[in-house]
Amino acid sequence: MKKRTLFSVFLTFVMFVTASISLFACSCGGSNKIVLKDPSEDENKSIKISLNCEGDVRASYEILIEEFNAVYDANVTASFTSDSDVYWQQLDSAISAKNAPDVFYCDPSSVRQFANKNGALPLDTYLQYEIDILDGKVSVNNDYPHIDYHDILSESIKYYTYNRETCTLGDGTIYAIPKDASGYAMGYNKNVINKAVLMGRWPENLLFPWQYTDSEGGVYDDYASAKASGKTVSQVCYTWQQFVSACQACQFTEASTGTKYYGTGLLDEWAMHSWIWTAGGDYISADGTTMTIKDEKFVQGLQEFVDLHLKYDACQPYEDSLSSSHYDKWKNGQVAFFSVGNWDIGAYDAIDSSILDYDVMPTPKKDADSEWYTYRGTLGFAVNKLTQSPTLATRLALWLSASGEVSNERIRYSSDSDLTDGIAKGAYNWLTKIKKVQLPNKTADLNTYLADDTLRPTNKQVYADIVLGSNGKVYPSARTYNDEWWEIFYGSIGKIWAGENAEPEMTVREYVEYINDSCQEALTKSIRAEQKDSKR
């Protein structure tokens, strides 16, 4: 009896204490002021990141990581791989062996695999925590900077948002922070075009790529005068026919030097999509389940791209590119029109303008009524699901993606540097302004970049149009769970090409008929694999 009474008293006491604590916690919540210990302080500060880059990109990340270490009292070790194939193979093996670095690359295709196969950490909680600190909902006892992922281009974030239940990309949980957003614009070399004009080869009535027009028929000779007009202007965008004429005009051998100039030089792997998309075709249906390569619009687009190379004498032949690539010839000033990726701006800026006086324009569109489209790329930073430092690793991903200038007394640059000690420059400055290897990831930074006339190219708006979604489309295989269908489609595409001595084995129509069933079977198989893996 006595025992029972004692037990009842004890139970009442426990209930009273529990209720009191709960009420106290609720009242704290009401005042929006929870003082918490920042989880990153308990985490292991030594984390690893694996990157696939070289040259200026690597140099930028090395400095950014040093800055991160100083700003967040961290000890990040980076490993760099320059060979892309090796990087992805090693990463794949490391994830399957549960030995991956804390932060690693992913792309829109691999993020689905990493999410389903428990390689990538769902980041929503950690991203929200950063926002809560910024909003003052959570107070922490340190001065670490925090980044709101909403400031990052939502058009890029969507490629790393994945719903495992519905197997849908662009919806659900965030599994990675965009490392970059990129795209191929059509670059042109003014020097070659001017030579064609001097030789009288440039077609009459064909506007120059650097000209702008307004809706009232006004034509402006450059970006500055177009901007000064105060009207809504748009840059010249050639139709297929105009592009062929322009390229043909620029394909000649200079008599005085014997130098061969080419209208264009395009790699099918990256450039043919523009022709297919602007014709209204696509590789797979909008719901991602059916191959649509037999569609007449697809065939028309790809056939025009093939004809550009084989029929019109407007292009450096593919087989020539094996001895000196299109890229080398472009940098050598011998190509009039070339796919210019924004990551190469720094490299092109370093070339003397007497050789390469370049700028960019939209890729050609089918006709006046069509829209232009081009390749839009993106990579992301994923955090290892097994990391012991999820808060710190998420902050590292955010820092490398979207950091700006941060004052921190621990920042010390080397003595021969002209940088200011005590100020971390951050991702935008290093990657976009100084090294010129990528577009900004934050919306505000993108606007600053577009307004900055000191940065080339002049028509940066083309890149904005690509990455903000209206004119850029991701690589065909990035829309599917794996790329087996693409390997089959692209693996035999040589059948529609031909060397100088041989006719193509197949027309485009014959090729798509020949390849469609195999691609469809591989696509269906990948859908089955995704559905199975999503239930892991």
Partner: protein, 305 residues
């Protein structure tokens, strides 16, 4: 009787048991290595042929049984033809084996003669063997380019050379040229060793009997070099069936007309179809084993004769 007793005593003595124990301990690392790195992977890949298996599974035993689906996918589906094409490509590239054997024998005969600077020639022929394969492939890309050295030479004789690396008809031949050239040095070296091991008395006897040079070559040199040839054919076939690096470096992984069986396995692994990769791996292993076994049986019969 006494001897047998002593022998049994030694056999059962502590000394012998200790000796045996040490013996087993010495071979243990090798046995563990074989079990871990050969027997276990063989077992897992064999089981994997019948499983819907992902590389992200914690263990192969987590994977679901899917009967013969992997076999159907590899051999019977709409894109099964790409597997057969990769097998055809692999066998086609192996044409380089007899070409390489003939050439290396010819060069070995030439280098076996006493002439000025023979050692320099031997070093020159062996240089490709010790050269980096990556560097070699880049060099061959330049050689076989439309305006490369080979086509320039052909152009000198009024022949317009093809785009070797582009056209389907010549792409595989380009790999054959490269592999033959790269492997010539080591074959020459082995043939040279074989030639120098043939006693001169055979040739002297043949000369006394009035045998001509060609007859001597066919009747004496070729048969006595048979062990070397046998070794080169066996290792050549095993290596040829596993050809991967050269096409990969010359053409990348995307072209199906130059993709070999190992490249195809690699692609399946990349796409996370491990069951299918296991089927192809076992199929390849059985082919190699069968060809090698036939060669050994033929060799055994020949030696008995």
């Amino acid at each position: 009787m006494e001897t047998v007793k002593i022998s049994n005593k030694i056999k059962n003595s502590g000394l012998r048991r200790e000796e045996n124990l040490f013996g087993y301990l010495f071979v243990l690392p090798a046995v563990i290595g074989i079990l871990l790195f050969i027997a276990y992977p063989l077992f897992v890949s064999f089981i994997g042929m019948f499983l819907d298996w992902s590389k992200y599974d914690n263990s192969v035993f987590q994977a679901q049984w899917n009967n013969f689906e992997n076999f159907k996918q590899v051999f019977g589906s709409a894109f099964g033809k790409y597997f057969w094409q990769s097998l055809y490509n692999t066998v086609f590239i192996m044409i380089g084996i007899p070409i390489g054997l003939v050439l290396s024998l010819v060069f070995a005969m030439l280098l076996n003669r006493e002439m000025k600077g023979v050692y320099i020639y031997r070093v020159l022929f062996y240089l490709p063997v010790v050269s980096s394969l990556v560097a070699v492939c880049i060099m061959w890309q330049k050689l076989l380019a439309p305006d490369g050295v080979l086509n320039s030479l052909l152009g000198f004789f009024g022949i317009k050379g093809p785009a070797w690396l582009v056209e389907e008809a010549t792409a595989k031949w380009s790999i054959i040229f490269l592999t033959v050239w790269k492997g010539l040095g080591s074959s020459i070296l082995l043939y040279l060793a074989g030639l120098q091991g043939i006693s001169k008395s055979y040739y002297e006897a043949a000369e006394v009997d009035g045998s001509g040079a060609f007859n001597t070559f066919i009747k004496i040199t070729v048969p006595l070099l048979y062990p070397t040839t046998f070794y080169l054919v066996v290792t050549g076939v095993i290596g040829g069936m596993q050809c991967y690096v050269e096409p990969q470096l010359l053409y990348g992984s995307s072209r199906l007309d130059t993709k070999t069986v190992v490249g195809y396995i690699f692609g399946k692994f990349g796409d996370d179809y491990l069951g299918e990769a296991s089927v192809i791996s076992w199929f390849l292993a059985i082919i190699i084993f069968t060809i090698t076994a036939i060669q050994f049986i033929y060799n055994g019969r020949r030696e008995k004769r």
